[in-house]
Amino acid sequence: MQHDIAKAPETSHAAISDVAENKEQTFGARVLSSQPFWVTIALIVLVVVMTINEPTFGTTENAANVTRNFAPIGIMAMGMTVVIITGGIDLSVGSVMGLVAIVAGLFLTWHYSWYVAFTMGMIAGLACGTVNGFFVAYVGMPSFVVTLGMLSIARSLAVVFSANQMLYQFGPDAPIVRAIGQAKWPSHAPAGWAPHWIPELSSHFWVLVGLALIVGYVFNSKAWGRHLFAIGGNEQAARLTGVPVDWIKFQAYVFSAFTASLASLLLLGYNGSAINAMGQGYELRVIAATVIGGASLMGGSGTAFGAFIGSAFLEVIRNALLMAGIDSNWQGAFVGAFIILAVLLGMQTGATSIMTAIVQQLLPKKHR
């Protein structure tokens, strides 16, 4: 009798945990069905294959090049991810880059110090974000239309302000501006400590890494990040539960413009000159990187890591095609095909994505 009483709760506990295990997704299954994970795998495979086949691909110089090339796209992809999670889109980032570069460039040519020029450039960029955010969040216009308008306005302003000239006579602070854009760490220079096999990673890349860590932290651990996802999932619900929906959406567009300004100023420093065509067509590359990294254009999902890996993936493909000697005109076709493939795999059919369905088909039951 006593034996029975002692045993009863134990068996009922076992039953509950059995049920729980059946339904609750394990950590492993969640990783396996996440898009950034598979893009990372594809990226690693691509890098390994290219390193074996192309002697020039696996060099530290090329690694430094590739990481510098995708950094501005990655930086903007952080801002784009924030906007896309809320269910919006920002088409203006490329043009904002152009405007920021020209405004900062103008102040440099007028012999202002570099921090004044950078601040003015940043203000111009944030102003664009403020206008976007105001019309989308507070007036309630579709983000596609508002940011399409800003795409046109910012580019036009950049052309007008620059009088369609390239700006390069940067006055006394030119070396500082260039130093910011061309800084590397760790350095191979004679005084540097780094052995030759470590690539000299650019300041652009380190800014991207820092930004990605901050955005990832906010997504995971801050109420603000949680609210972004709620807005993308069900804006009405977020509003009813007291989430300041308009204010958060507004901030998302300002943040996107901030990342575009940051990328622009780094490129300005790297090039040592400002042209009004800077960032032309970048909005599509940024959106492509974000979507390949697993953000859903329907809103409600996206990660900082995904944005990082998506932009890296696009650049490595571009670089690999170039090294493999394929006509550069083919790049668009490849990139386009990857965008469609990525969205197809992440597409929601009922409660599970196609990716999850494939994983469930391929894996034996006990691993789920």
Partner: protein
């Protein structure tokens, strides 16, 4: 003293009198069924109580105190919560994240003030336990059944210790088994001395859980009867107008 008292309340939108001189009250722990045909003024009355807009005439009293709500958040501060028909849940978030949406628990100090995820999960688990629901805090809402979703929406009202919960068609469009679950949830709320106003078209559900039934027709209250003293036939007659008033 009544928990909620509606005194001679009218609401008109231009020339349309949506609610006409209505008075009634709800006691703590009472389940009141609010019935009426489409356009009878139920939704307007609910929105008046929930604080979406103030009445044109008359007053709403909570705990004997006259309240003029202009925003739902003001009503919520007085302990009135609404479970909306579409449940107002974010599908891409988990049960616990939805329960705490808009009032997340934090720990630490600025700028390292972070979400206290474990505390929120534990608290939600406690609420689901209290409601005798098998909903798990870490499950995504989009993978849940209708009954579990109701549990999440109701757990949200329990979080704020609401004294009065307004439920708008909670049993519409869910399966029979889940309807039983939802009715059980309503009984749980009653058990914890929470008053519930149940707006529903489904006669059996209202009769199963309510203590009192109020019938509205064309903006006016036509009946306010104890559930035990009436019948589905009488209520149907009152709703359609076959019986004038009771």
């Amino acid at each position: 003293m009544a928990l909620l008292e509606v005194r001679n309340v009218s609401k008109s939108f231009g020339a349309i009198h949506a609610v006409n001189d209505i008075s009634w009250s709800v006691e703590p722990g009472e389940v009141v069924g609010l019935m009426g045909d489409n356009g009878a003024g139920k939704s307007t009355l609910v929105k008046l109580i929930a604080g979406n807009f103030p009445p044109t005439e008359g007053e709403v009293l909570v705990d004997g105190e006259v309240c003029h709500f202009h925003k739902p958040i003001q009503a919520r501060a007085k302990g009135i919560e609404v479970v909306y028909q579409d449940l107002a849940l974010a599908d891409n978030l988990t049960a616990a994240q939805n329960v705490f949406l808009g009032r997340e628990l934090n720990k630490g100090f600025w700028p390292f003030r972070v979400l206290d995820k474990q505390a929120m999960i534990d608290r939600s688990a406690g609420l689901f336990d209290e409601l005798k629901s098998e909903t798990r805090p870490r499950d995504l809402v989009k993978k849940m059944s209708g009954g579990q979703r109701q549990a999440v929406a109701i757990a949200r009202t329990r979080l704020s210790n609401a004294k009065l919960v307004l439920m708008d068609e909670p049993t519409a469009a869910i399966s029979v088994r889940q309807v039983a679950q939802v009715l059980e949830l309503i009984r749980r709320l009653k058990h914890q001395d929470v008053a519930v106003i149940l707006i529903s078209h489904r006669m059996p559900d209202v009769f199963a859980v309510s203590d009192r039934i109020i019938v509205m027709r064309r903006g006016a209250k036509v009946a306010d009867k104890a559930t035990a003293s009436t019948s589905p036939e009488e209520i149907t007659g009152l709703i359609t107008g076959a019986i004038r008033a009771a």
